[in-house]
């Protein structure tokens, strides 16, 4: 081999080396920490609280000596990066770049919490596959995630989700709607969603169910991320005499919909999901205008449910660690499953006796654990199974805001503390 040939050979070798995924070394040496990557929208309340919940779980596990992996114990170390994907105008590619930066710089063994927007989640699954990183998503909700896992298992087997997904949200909303129809005879609805994959999917799923179950859907509107005027829809709600408004929003501006509905004195029950209305301090923030609204809490924990003692303990301990104000700000989506995801990983490492990705995936698939969100088992599509009995499945719930600023759990019946009441402006 001549000099030029040797240089070409070295360059070729370098190119191959650089192009190989540079993720974490799967083998742990004694004293090495297990690294958890947390790429998420830290500016969203879901991302912010999820990250706090993860730090809480990490600290708890480390305080007990860490995670037993084979013969040695290892501390956990979590690193976050802000993907800003909840902000209008942030392209999917920017969020992916941030995620990959975290992977390359911190070399995590697993990824937790993860993507906020479904569009980013679907794209990031290829990153997880490329770097062979077990990933538990605790926010983004599109069911297409499961379809990808099922359709191309070998490629996407690293991806799991323990948060509620859109079809399960529809399932809970159906339960609420069945109740209000039976109890109060309501049958005319108006759906208002944000123009994102998960919210549109939820709205369309619910619209189909409504039509099959004797409801009249008087309108279906979508609003761009960042929209701040909902009066066109509310004018139509009034004109068409809709009795139930179903909002599906996780953007901060969605609180405006509630304020506008009250300002315009719309005599309809708001029952759906408005992210800013979920936390305990929403009554104060919205000066009581949340009165009567039924809001789904996607995973219990931010709302403690007595039937699930770990949800009560989580709620209390969150307040002790981060302060009562932070506890009262807890988002209705993300914190419970984010916290649980760290225990799910720790449990999987211990059972697999390694952090090697394929072994961790196998261990995660066999998970059967009691957590903050209820009983946690993954389906074949790597989605945690949700239902109405926390002894059998994970649990979401619906709360209703009542005077003097209390959230009452009203659905499902197995854990309900009260029944849904018509708000004062509908009587």
């Amino acid at each position: 081999m001549g000099k030029k040939g040797f240089i070409a050979f070295v360059l070729l070798g370098l190119a191959i080396f650089i192009s190989l995924p540079q993720a974490a070394v799967a083998q742990l040496k004694p004293g090495d920490p297990i690294v958890i990557g947390v790429p998420t929208a830290l500016g969203s309340i879901e991302g912010r609280d999820g990250w706090m919940a993860i730090q809480m779980a990490v600290d708890e596990i480390n305080a007990k000596g860490g995670v037993q992996v084979g013969a040695t114990k290892h501390q956990l170390k979590a690193y976050s990066i802000d993907t800003r994907e909840h902000e209008p105008g942030i392209p999917v590619q920017d969020a992916l770049t941030a995620t990959e930066k975290l992977i390359l710089e911190r070399k995590p063994h697993v990824i937790a919490l993860g993507n906020f927007r479904s569009e980013v989640l679907l794209a990031s699954m290829d990153l997880m596959s490329k770097y062979k990183l077990p990933y538990i998503c605790s926010i983004a909700m599109t069911p297409l995630f499961q379809k990808k896992v099922v359709d191309e298992y070998d490629k996407y087997k690293y991806c799991f989700r323990n948060a509620l997904n859109a079809p399960y949200l529809v399932m809970y909303l159906q339960g609420v709607m069945e109740f209000v129809k039976k109890q109060f005879g309501l049958s005319k609805t108006y759906i208002i969603v944000q123009d994102t994959l998960w919210a549109q999917g939820t709205g369309k799923g619910l619209e189909k169910w409504y039509k099959e179950n004797g409801w009249e859907v008087t309108g279906f509107d979508a609003y761009a991320l960042g929209a701040s005027d909902f009066s066109p829809s509310l004018i139509k709600v009034r004109a068409q005499k809709a009795q139930v408004i179903v909002p599906i929003f996780d953007m901060p501006q969605s609180g405006i919909l509630l304020k506008q509905a009250r300002a315009m004195q719309i005599p309809a029950l708001l029952a759906g999901f408005i992210s800013p209305v979920a936390p305990e301090n929403a009554w104060k923030v919205f000066e009581g205008e949340v009165d009567g609204m039924v809001n789904v809490i996607f995973e219990i924990g931010p709302v403690p449910v007595k039937a699930v003692p770990k949800s009560v303990a989580f709620n209390e301990n969150f307040g002790k660690k981060w302060g009562n104000e932070a506890r009262m700000n807890l988002s209705g989506h993300g914190p419970g499953p984010s916290y649980d995801s760290i225990y799910l990983f720790a449990n999987a490492f211990e059972r697999a006796k390694t952090v090697e990705p394929d072994a961790v995936v196998k261990a995660l698939e066999q998970t059967d654990m009691s957590g903050v969100i209820g009983r946690i088992k993954f389906g074949k599509d790597h989605q945690v199974i949700y239902g109405f009995d926390p002894k059998e499945t994970a649990l979401a719930c619906a709360i209703q805001w009542v005077k003097p600023g209390k959230r009452e759990v009203v659905f499902p019946e197995a854990v309900a503390e009260s029944k849904i009441k018509l708000p004062p402006y509908m009587k």
Partner: protein, 290 residues
């Protein structure tokens, strides 16, 4: 449905006019397109919120302080940033846009990103107008919008500073030859425009929440209304606000709400293609006719 469309279309139009009028005033007098306008708007909202929640100011005092501080910031902006690039439109736009983005992103960095940031209503409650409920805050908005227009008319026609504003706006060189100080007048126009952004924020933000992205949206609204009506024309701003305000509500009601934002962009493209000076603008009218 028609009374609701008329009333809420008017409310929407007045909110657009409130947002755009400060931007228009500054441009009409000094020729400076203040692209920090959205930043000043949002700064006003957060400043009132901080004065109320951190320093426990009474509401009225928080409002007056905020309008004063933001007006002063506009004044200082002229002397510190704009003086050096005055007369170079592209540099003016870049400098003010950078300042606006800096303000907005500073608040994002400081964590002012969630839904907790709301301003109180001036007065809670509502009245029925033609069978349509309208809350007091929206009525205040309409009242303050009208009061601002009347104030601007009297200010620019019956005070020394206002007459200086008009003098500079009509012909800067002639105004200078009569002893009017160009830079001071321009700085004052920036201060007035910024203070008006502040008034708009204090009146409009109680209807929703204070979110960073509104800063960018407000700038788009101000530019769109200005381009449609004529950037330097107050009557043009009013007419454009009515056109865009009703067009938006009608789009939301009869077409799709997600297209409401497109109304601004379509209006900008249409007016620039047909009458670049805007409906009431004069700056390039002669060139357009030729």
């Amino acid at each position: 449905m028609i009374p609701s469309i008329i009333i809420y279309g008017l409310v929407n139009s007045v909110s657009l006019a409130l947002i755009a009028i400060g931007f228009s005033l500054t441009f009409g007098i000094s020729g400076v397109a203040n692209f920090a306008y959205g930043g000043f708007y949002l700064l006003s909202g957060f400043l009132v919120w901080m004065l109320l929640n951190y320093l426990k100011f009474p509401f009225i005092l928080a409002i007056v302080t905020t309008i004063g501080v933001v007006g002063l910031l506009g004044f200082v902006t002229y002397w510190v940033i704009l003086l050096r690039v005055r007369g170079i439109p592209l540099s003016e736009v870049i400098a003010t846009f950078a300042l606006g983005v800096g303000i907005l992103e500073l608040f994002r960095w400081l964590g002012f990103v969630t839904y907790e940031f709301t301003l109180p209503y001036f007065k809670k409650g509502m009245v029925m107008i033609a069978g349509v409920p309208v809350d007091y805050q929206r009525l205040f908005m309409i009242g303050i919008g009208l009061a601002l227009v009347v104030f601007l008319y009297f200010f620019t026609h019956h005070t020394r500073v206002g007459l200086a504003f008009r003098g500079i706006a009509q012909n800067e060189r002639t105004a200078i030859s009569l002893g009017i100080k160009s830079d001071m007048t321009a700085a004052l126009s920036l201060a007035f425009g910024s203070a008006m952004a502040s008034v708009a924020a204090i009146v409009i933000l109680p209807l929703g929440i204070i979110s960073i992205n509104q800063g960018y949206e407000v700038l788009l609204i101000a530019v769109a209304v200005g381009i449609v009506g004529g950037l330097e024309s107050v009557p043009g701003i009013l007419v454009a606000s009515l056109i865009l305000g009703y067009a938006q509500v009608l789009t939301g009601v009869y077409l799709k709400p997600e297209w409401m934002m497109v109304v601004y962009l379509a209006a900008i493209v249409l007016v620039l293609a047909v009458k670049p000076s805007g409906l009431f603008g004069k700056f390039k009218e002669l060139e357009e006719r030729v």
